[in-house]
Amino acid sequence: MSAVEQAIRARREAGSGALVAYLPVGFPTLDDSIAAAIALVENGVDILELGLPYSDPVMDGPAIQKATQTALQNGFRLRDGFTAVEKVRAAVDAPVLVMTYWNPVLQYGVDRFAADLASAGGAGLITPDLIPDEASDWMAASEAHDLDRVFLAAPSSSDARMRQAVGASRGFVYAVSTMGITGARSDVDAAARGVVSRLRDAGCTSTCVGLGISTADQVRDVLSYADGAIVGSRLVAALAEGGVTEAARVAADLATGTR
């Protein structure tokens, strides 16, 4: 069982589920993004998702777009992603997944990327614009380097595609809560429940819900039916507004939803 699955399993056996947190590497600076990621884990986050800033982030809403654009303007390079994973792993024990659009991986070299991620101590990749149908290189590289593969399942996915996502994923399946992009929402879609239940029907034992989750109550609600709750934009906004301290405070508050 992978480290991510173990972390999720441990939280489930304790009667709850995992809090998964997203932050982009390099925002507001490389050092601060690393410090913030470490602080999140110290304040109750179970699994980290470090995002690699990309020029054309079609799955992201305004908060994450703005942060990743800032990181790129500040000179973010792909290698900074590996540095961040390594430093975070040296400081805290939580598994670290990397969230990235596909072209940077393709240009770095799929196998080389997987090798460097594994040696930095990374747990695997979440790939928002790579569907299993196009992922044969990544399937092979992730097998070779023992990495998790997190594919997405959406409210619009057919049953056959749900089964495909479950079969191809390792770690967890990312259940997209709503038809839309990242960003805090006041109500997490009822659609999320439907996606999770259809994933369960497809044999899924590990699924985390993402998109729109921004409060401890939403975390608690999601964990009543899913194995993990993913928070992104809310933490990025906190980091933008009040730095590492504020991001840590929001994480601690979100973590109350896991108790």
Partner: protein
């Protein structure tokens, strides 16, 4: 199998679908509707009727002898897509997709636009079919194509000036995709070129293939033979694929795509994706693109908004790869000079995009000599570019015309 029979999702190693899972169902639905429409005589008849009574098809070809004097004496034939309703080739694809959207029960059309020609065509179709329309346009482009912004608004469309990234066409596509993910139940994304995830490259090509099908017959009728070369400008590549397609299996016909070389392909300021790009994934397909070592998309540069795009359709990447088509760069200065030359020798003011193809035709003519015949896709008219051209040539009040 002939080259004309290739229908995707892959063109060699290019094409495919690199999009969020949320969009796959919509792409499947669109693909199924398109496959059904392709073999449905009612659909074909409805589209043909619109082309006849609304667009003004078939478009004519015009021989350009005075222009051809500057092209080594070769015969230059212009396929007049500029005479279509709304002023460019873009309407061919728009009417096809709008009909499909209607069949799918969608009530809202969204589109990206660079020069504004695709946005205008989309707004036009939305008005014609009584649909809502939102057009995403980079803020840089809303400025340089202000006239087209006004046209879209007059037609009842909402125009969103996109402020993210490089604030040009690529960012407009990103925002259109984000809108589509969130509103896919009611909305059709009317993508304006032969790029994007399958089935767009194939479908958009097919809707434009009428350009080449008509032109191939017209050239034969006029000259008794096929042309030696077909020239078209390449932004995303739709007018070029449209005119190339009918000739793909005519081995004697050279297919030449003209890309925007901006200040020059060896400067940092160009949009010559095929000449200078590397394989990568952008906007849903694997193709060639301008990118840095990390795979970040680089900003392109061209005086022409419609060619100012760091990607290109996957079928072009494949045609370049297998050597069936060749692609060359044309600088801003060369294009503007060809624009003025056609205006003065033939009384036809082309779009700046199109002027790139015209420069290519001048060169091809010189290479072919007096026996040569070059067919050019005259993809659009220059009305929208008057402000840029007037500034470039200093034609405004009180200025002395620049002889450049």
């Amino acid at each position: 199998m002939t080259l004309r029979d290739v229908v995707g999702p892959y063109f060699g190693t290019f094409g495919g679908r690199f999009v969020p899972e949320s969009l796959i169902a919509a792409l499947d639905e669109l693909d199924a509707a398109y496959q059904a429409a392709r073999v449905d005589p009612d659909f074909a008849a409805e589209l043909a009727e619109l082309h006849r009574t609304y667009t003004g098809r078939p478009s004519i070809i015009t021989e350009a002898p005075r222009f051809a004097e500057h092209a080594g004496g070769a015969r230059i034939l212009l396929k007049r897509e500029d005479l279509n309703h709304t002023g460019s080739h873009k309407i061919n694809n728009v009417l096809g997709q709008a009909l499909l959207a209607k069949r799918l029960g969608k009530t809202r059309l969204i589109a990206e636009t660079g020069a504004g020609q695709h946005g205008v065509a989309s707004a036009t179709a939305a008005a014609l079919f009584g649909m809502e329309c939102v057009v995403y346009m980079g803020a840089v482009d809303t400025e340089r194509q202000a006239l087209n912004v006004a046209r879209m608004k007059l037609l009842g469309a909402e125009v969103v000036a996109v402020q993210t990234g490089s604030r040009t066409l690529k960012d407009a596509i990103n925002d259109a995709m984000r809108d589509w993910v969130a509103n896919v139940d009611t909305t059709h994304y009317l993508l304006g070129t032969v790029a994007g995830p399958h089935p767009f490259p194939t479908m958009v090509r097919d809707f434009h293939a009428v350009i080449g099908t008509e032109a191939r017959e017209q050239v034969r009728e006029l000259t008794g033979r096929l042309p030696d070369a077909v020239a078209a400008c390449v932004g995303g590549g739709s007018n070029a694929m449209g005119i190339f397609h009918a000739f793909l299996d005519d081995e004697s016909v050279r297919l030449v795509g003209l890309e925007a070389a901006g200040d020059g392909v060896d400067t940092p300021h160009h949009a010559a994706t095929i000449s200078k790009g590397r394989p990568g994934v952008l906007h849903g397909a694997r193709s060639l693109m301008l990118q840095d070592d990390d795979g970040q998309t680089m900003e392109s540069h061209s005086i022409s908004a419609g060619l100012d795009y760091p990607g290109v359709g996957p079928e072009h990447a494949w045609l370049a790869d297998i050597g069936r088509a060749e692609y060359r760069g044309v600088t801003d200065a060369e294009a503007m000079s060809a624009l003025r030359l056609l205006s003065r020798t033939e009384g036809i003011i082309p779009a700046i995009e199109t002027a790139h193809a015209l420069h290519g035709a001048l060169e091809l003519g010189k290479e072919l000599g007096p026996e040569g015949i070059v067919l050019v896709s005259l993809s659009g008219r220059g009305d929208k570019d008057m402000e840029t051209a007037a500034r470039y040539f200093r034609l405004l009040d009180g200025e002395t015309e620049d002889a450049r």
